[in-house]
């Protein structure tokens, strides 16, 4: 309990620092948003009025404070290009990206754990070597290229889905899932390869290192029993940490994948806002993703100390 509380505090502190940096970064950039909004030939009075209505004439820390306070109230600021509240722009996008992330994550865990265990059970066998080679290749294929290949094979040749025909989850959940499964596979493939490799090497080093492995063998345990009963638990710790990082990376990678499959999610909104320099939107999305990163890392810490209570002592 004390461990969880400590980690939670640490997560909160990280969140404050990250949000401050995210805010600061967009303050020190050259160029005034009013120039973007009004053009260069606006009268000084109009610029002043706009600066006032955007709150830009207030001191830096006050603006930071009200920005953070806004987050808790769900007011994330107003988009420069659409003059819409950022919150309502994001509202429909987050579930889509969330669904895609969840689907990819389920795929990654469901495939990589059994395959990783299989390859460490049959260490250095023919099967293990083949899996290693396949892994190596899969890791080298960028997700957006996998996405394009999937679009070609399943979309254009086999016609299992129509590229670009995304349906919102609220409209038809089944159809939405059926569409999202292809981008999810594209995201998951290299990640599966990495996780398998990670699990396998973690199991291997645990097997070599630990005295308890020898004890278990000398007691007459089979390799299977040693692996699943003893080694797996210890070997999982780095894998859980890696999976947390994966969760963060999937959301970041969705910027690219959503572009490949024309999915109107958070990533696509981020890309559009980056290109049009719509800073309030970029800022809000960055903070949301940062929150997500901190959250999954916190969860990984909590899960890890369940798996390996020794961690609590550190």
């Amino acid at each position: 309990m004390k461990y969880t509380a400590k980690k939670l505090l640490l997560a909160a502190v990280t969140m404050v620092i990250v949000s401050f940096l995210a805010f600061l970064a967009f303050q020190i950039i050259p160029g005034d948003p009013t120039t973007t909004l009004l053009g260069t030939d606006a009268t000084p009075e109009r610029v002043e009025a706009l600066r006032h209505s955007l709150g830009l004439d207030r001191p830096f820390l006050v603006r930071y404070g009200s920005w953070v306070a806004g987050f808790f109230r769900g007011a994330l600021g107003t988009s420069y290009s659409y003059s819409m509240p950022v919150g309502s722009m994001l509202g429909g996008k987050i579930p889509i990206t969330g669904l895609l992330t969840g689907l990819s994550f389920v795929l990654i865990v469901a495939v990589s754990l059994p395959v990783g265990l299989l390859s460490s059970q049959k260490e250095n066998s023919r099967l293990d070597q083949v899996l290693d080679a396949v892994n190596q290749v899969l890791m080298a294929v960028p997700p957006f290229f996998t996405g394009i290949l999937l679009t070609y094979v399943f979309g254009l040749v086999l016609k299992w889905f129509t590229p670009g025909s995304f349906v919102a989850p609220g409209e038809n959940f089944g159809a939405c899932l059926r569409y999202l499964i292809f981008p999810a596979v594209a995201i998951a493939l290299p990640r599966i390869a990495m996780t398998v490799k990670m699990l396998r090497s973690s199991m291997q080093s645990e097997l070599r290192r630990a005295g308890y492995v020898r004890t278990a063998y000398s007691r007459g345990d089979s390799r299977r029993r040693v692996l699943y009963g003893h080694v797996l638990r210890n070997a999982l710790v780095p894998v859980v940490t890696f999976l947390a990082m994966t969760m963060a990376d999937i959301v970041a990678g969705s910027v690219v994948i959503e572009q490949v499959f024309a999915i109107p999610g958070m990533g696509q909104l981020l890309l559009r806002s980056v290109s049009t320099r719509d800073f309030p939107v970029v800022q809000a999305i960055i903070v949301i993703i940062a929150f997500w990163v901190v959250l999954v890392n916190f969860l990984a810490d909590v899960i890890n100390q369940r798996i390996d209570p020794r961690l609590r002592l550190q």
């Binding site: 190596q136 394009i148 959301v251 970041a252 690219v256 572009q259 890309l271 290109s275």
Partner: protein, 269 residues
Amino acid sequence: MKRKNTSLYIGLVLAGLVALLVVVGCFWTPYEPTAMSGSAKFLAPSWRHWFGTDNFGRDIFSRVMKGAGTTFFISLCTVAIGASAGIVVGSLTGYFGGWVDDVLMRLNDAMTAFPSILLALVLISLLGPGEYHIILALGLVFIPSYARVVRSEFARQKELNYVSSARLMGAGNLRILFVHMLPNTGPVLLPAIVIGFNNAVLAEASMSYLGIGVQPPGASLGYMLSESQSYLGKAPWYALCTGLTIVVLILGFSLISQGLRRRKKRRRC
């Protein structure tokens, strides 16, 4: 027991193949990469056009040679920025330690936890798109990954005998750091740099695919992939050849890095 380091050799061959294309592409391409031809649109791969032609009748092989060159150039610059800054930061913090080390490493941890492509996106939104902005953004974003590797190696090696011997001989800190210690970090640093190059290739390709990297008429592999997607039905070879070049490049370098690490392990034994 002497086992051949197969992954190193295969990696060198694959990466060398793409590097050869790039080097040759600097001086000579089979066709002018920007020469359009109304009569030669969407030709399938053949002896005359190895990778076929695109929507403007341009030879894709020639364009891949040029595009791979751009990708190579950007990735090399990125690695140069990231690695040199990372080496300076990592060596100083690892060697001297202290509170600066603590603070910087905390910051480093926070930055590594945050997806690098997002950081690069934020920087691009501040700087604006373009080839040199991509180099700057990616270079900055990758500094922590090098700094971390270098730091831990310097922190480990500063306790070793040769360092104290050098100090006894009267060598100054800078001399110890960069003349004595830096060459010894090679076996750890080299694979990290190779992997870093791969990450740079991947990041550059993604950014250019998104249209915020290299701007037309310049071509990089990522930009070509995004272009090819519009003609996927008519000219699937366009996407396939461009994408496979990226795959071969990344596969080559990741095999080299794996081979280097394996070699290091075997030497330690």
